[in-house]
């Protein structure tokens, strides 16, 4: 990071100067090419696209700026490439291959609308409203290309947490400031007392975004009042819920928003040290965060005497070592202390006795990222969004069997139907939506018939699931609910720390019973036993993991009991998933003997020569379904 001579930043004017530099980076005078380089983008091939773009620009000596950006959340269209030409709308291209990228670059300034996905108002990037609404801003349309404001995926979104994701270069401190970053910190440190900051957060009504939904203001107040020094603030980025990746999105796309939130929180609570606990599966997030910390230290926004206020704060990154249970706050603390992640009895709560026995405030990534906005725009503004019990917005990862797999941020209270059918665009392949799984392994499955449910903490809990960290996995009618219950129990029996007998043994036994049912050996009494055992595991276990471990079973039993009964009474799996209950066969009429299935069969169970009818030898069939996946003629059937 170049030193602009203004460091350390001491005043609002200093910030403004950096913001001006940032604005020039965001909207340079030359055309700018942006590539989404979050982990998901890279997995989809963004690295190769970036290389190709750099190559073309260098080869042809083009006067273009090439920049990386985070994830805008349009996962199904990755890798994404954006072209920003001064005075024109930003144009987004999806599923870009290196070859296509070269074509697009070489065609500039002609925008190639036939390949474009959408356009975004050019000034959106530099707005500093502390949120992103795709409905704002003037748009100059590109013929035949929809604007973000008209796309169902984006138009309902209100982005507070993800306000900068996909709009700025996450490695650029200046661009973050250009979008209003660190003014909230200045405001808090120089114009408010710590108690005023806590009051602002309390007034906002924000509840913890990590899953349990504890009121953040109340937690801060407790830590603030708790005796002991030093105090710690921790950012919980051990995003372990399978199917949830919003924390990764924020850490990779806008790391400074988390840092700013933590610094404000530390000031409010009188903490002097911060720790960001990131899971090791997110190497890019770790790197981005460490970079951001270094930049802030250079700029004097971390360290001693921030903004000349006398307040000092340091942050370090701790990498997790791979344990789902460490998302539980007491286990997380144990892990930072170098011990195994076994949850501890609460009370005493970490707010009173946490890391090294000192008062500790643990909040989730999303919660921290909300803080600067709450300070900048005021608690009342934040509280005006959402429902009476759940304020603000929530980021959801919409994945599974859905048309638009995406990271979305919507106001609390948006219904599941709106999320799945409008924003998510429904289920691909004309299939029927069966259920949505929320809250990870601690959550539950909500059936399609309940989709008018508004998404907030209390409604989801009442429906037998939880908000959790915000993963939403959409399941179509090819998903077996018994199999899903078995899947989560397999997850939990492995990820339970194993200390409580009820959780360790309970999850194993639950899985044993569900497994038996999935194999067609279940009896009616098994369902009673499942319910009783689930009840016991929930009541008796110590931590959140154990107490919610039975939720996947209980919720599927509650809404999909007939499916269990079908397995028990008729040894039939309606979704045709449970391997012991299905058989594959080749339709003699449709099979043209292409031989693709013979080659791919994992059990060498398919017989037949080229151009002759193939048959499956059932005794050797492993039921992997590879033949069905590869067959282009739909000749493989399952029953």
């Amino acid at each position: 990071m170049p030193n602009h001579g203004a460091y350390p930043l001491r005043s609002l004017e200093d910030l403004q100067a950096v913001a001006e530099l940032g604005r020039q980076r965001i909207s340079p005078a030359q055309p700018k090419i942006m590539i989404g380089m979050a982990t998901c983008g890279q997995a989809a091939g963004a690295t190769e696209v970036l290389e190709a773009v750099r190559e073309v620009v260098a080869q042809d000596k083009l006067p273009y700026v090439v920049s990386e950006t985070g994830c805008i959340g349009w996962c199904s269209q990755e890798p994404l490439l954006d072209i920003c030409i001064p005075g024109r709308p930003r144009v987004t291209y999806g599923r870009v291959t290196p070859a296509r990228a070269r074509q697009i670059i070489r065609a500039l300034p002609e925008p190639k609308p036939q390949w474009a996905l959408a356009t975004m108002p050019g000034d959106e990037n530099t707005l500093t409203g502390y949120y992103t609404s795709y409905l704002a801003g003037e748009d100059t349309p590109l013929r035949g290309v929809k604007s973000y404001r008209d796309l169902p995926l984006f138009k309902r979104q209100l982005r507070i947490v993800m306000r900068n994701c996909g709009l700025i270069d996450p490695a650029s401190f200046e661009e973050y400031i250009a979008r209003g970053g660190y003014t909230a910190l200045w405001q808090a440190l120089r114009t408010q007392t710590p108690q005023q900051v806590v009051d602002g957060v309390t007034k906002s009504g924000i509840r913890g975004r990590g899953g349990a939904g504890f009121p953040t203001g109340r937690k801060w107040q407790t830590v603030r009042e708790a005796p002991g020094s030093p105090k710690y603030v921790i950012c919980n980025a051990d995003e372990g819920d399978p199917g949830a990746y919003m924390d990764r999105g924020v850490l990779e796309g806008d790391p400074h928003s988390v840092l700013e939130g933590m610094t404000i929180g530390a000031y409010a609570m009188g903490a002097s040290e911060g720790i960001i606990y990131v899971r090791e599966e997110y190497p890019l997030a770790v790197a981005r965060m460490k970079d951001a910390i270094r930049q802030s230290e250079v700029a004097g926004l971390l360290g001693a005497n921030i903004f000349g206020s006398g307040f000092g704060f340091t942050v370090r990154v701790v990498t997790g070592a791979g344990a789902f249970v460490c998302g539980e706050e007491t286990a997380l603390i144990r892990s930072i202390e170098g011990k195994v992640g076994e949850p501890q009895q609460r009370p005493p709560y970490p707010a009173v006795r946490g890391l090294n026995g000192k008062p500790t405030c643990i909040n989730n990534v999303e919660t921290w990222a909300n803080v600067p906005v709450i300070i900048a725009r005021g608690g009342e503004w934040f509280a005006s969004i959402g429902t009476p019990g759940s304020k603000g917005t929530k980021v959801f990862s919409l994945v599974g069997n859905i048309e638009n797999t995406a990271l979305i941020e919507v106001p609390m209270g948006t219904t599941l139907a709106e999320i799945v059918y409008e924003i998510g665009g429904g289920i691909p392949g004309n299939r029927e939506c069966k259920a949505i799984q929320t809250g990870g392994p601690s959550g539950g499955c909500i059936p399609a018939s309940k989709f008018n449910l508004p998404v907030d903490y209390d409604s989801l809990t009442a429906a037998g699931s939880i908000m959790g960290s915000g993963g939403m996995i959409v399941m179509d009618d090819h998903t077996c609910m018994v199999d899903i219950a078995k899947y989560f129990l397999g997850f939990l029996e492995d990820e339970s720390c194993g200390k409580c007998f009820s959780c360790r043994e309970g999850t194993q036994r639950l899985k044993e019973i569900v497994q038996r049912i999935s194999e067609g050996h279940g009896v009616d009494e098994d369902l009673v036993l499942l319910e009783e055992l689930s009840w016991m595991v929930r009541e008796v276990s110590l931590c959140g993991l154990g107490q919610t471990a039975a939720n996947p079973v209980l919720s599927t039993l509650r809404y999909f009991r007939e499916e269990y009964l079908e397995h028990i009474h008729h040894q039939r799996c309606p979704a045709k998933v449970c391997r012991q209950l299905i058989t594959f066969a080749i339709d003699p009429v449709t099979c043209n003997g292409c031989g693709a299935c013979v080659q791919v069969c994992s059990g060498k169970a398919i017989l037949g020569e080229k151009n002759k009818l193939h048959t499956i030898e059932q005794a050797h069939c492993t039921k992997c379904g590879a033949c069905m996946d590869i067959c282009k003629f739909d000749a493989v059937t399952v029953n």
Partner: protein, 181 residues
């Protein structure tokens, strides 16, 4: 434990203070350097930090990123997150195990591959997902696994072996983009 590994570990241990909180970072460093945690290394860590060996052993076996056995040259992580599960992650895992020929402990006899299931790599939008070393692959279907692993296999002169394992159809070697079923 080979002398060379010991030689790498000693200077590494010097970098850390003798506080308990450093236990996991130290183990992570050893794991990154040796690709596993050698027994002797754990003993030295215990002595350095003045922690019972049983504690170090417990930590080393509790967390998933540590391995007490040497890992193969390439670490193949197949994601079994929920999104990957509903899109066939389990089948991808099984297919990967078959293709690499790993044993129950997850490592192939030629030490080329270690296959493990992981709980969510956070790329659920691109499910099913698989990570080989540091590269993440999107939309991995079971029929694509063989083609995908080819580049990680040791190069061999063309033998009859190659004929026996027929190539998967061309499009299945496509890793990126394209097929968004």
């Amino acid at each position: 434990m080979p002398q060379s590994e010991l030689g790498q570990i000693e200077p590494l241990l010097q970098e850390f203070d003798n506080t308990r909180a450093n236990l996991i970072p130290i183990l992570q460093q050893i794991q990154a350097t040796c690709s596993y945690l050698p027994q002797e290394a754990l003993r030295r860590v215990a002595r350095k930090l003045q922690v019972p060996l049983s504690d170090v052993y417990q930590v080393a076996t509790f967390y998933r990123c540590f391995s007490l056995k040497p890992r193969g040259k390439h670490l193949v992580q197949v994601c079994l997150g929920t999104a990957c599960h509903v899109r066939g992650g389990q089948k991808v895992l099984e297919r990967t195990q078959v293709e690499t020929g790993v044993d129950a402990a997850g490592t192939s006899a030629d030490m080329q591959f270690t296959v493990e299931a992981v709980r969510c790599l956070g790329c659920c939008g691109l499910a099913p997902v698989m990570r080989v070393d540091k590269t993440t692959f999107a939309h991995v279907e079971q029929t694509k696994v063989r083609g995908l692993l080819t580049r990680y296999r040791p190069r061999k002169p063309a033998t009859s072996e190659a004929e026996k394992t027929p190539a998967v159809p061309a499009e299945s070697t496509l890793v990126h983009g394209g097929d968004h079923a």
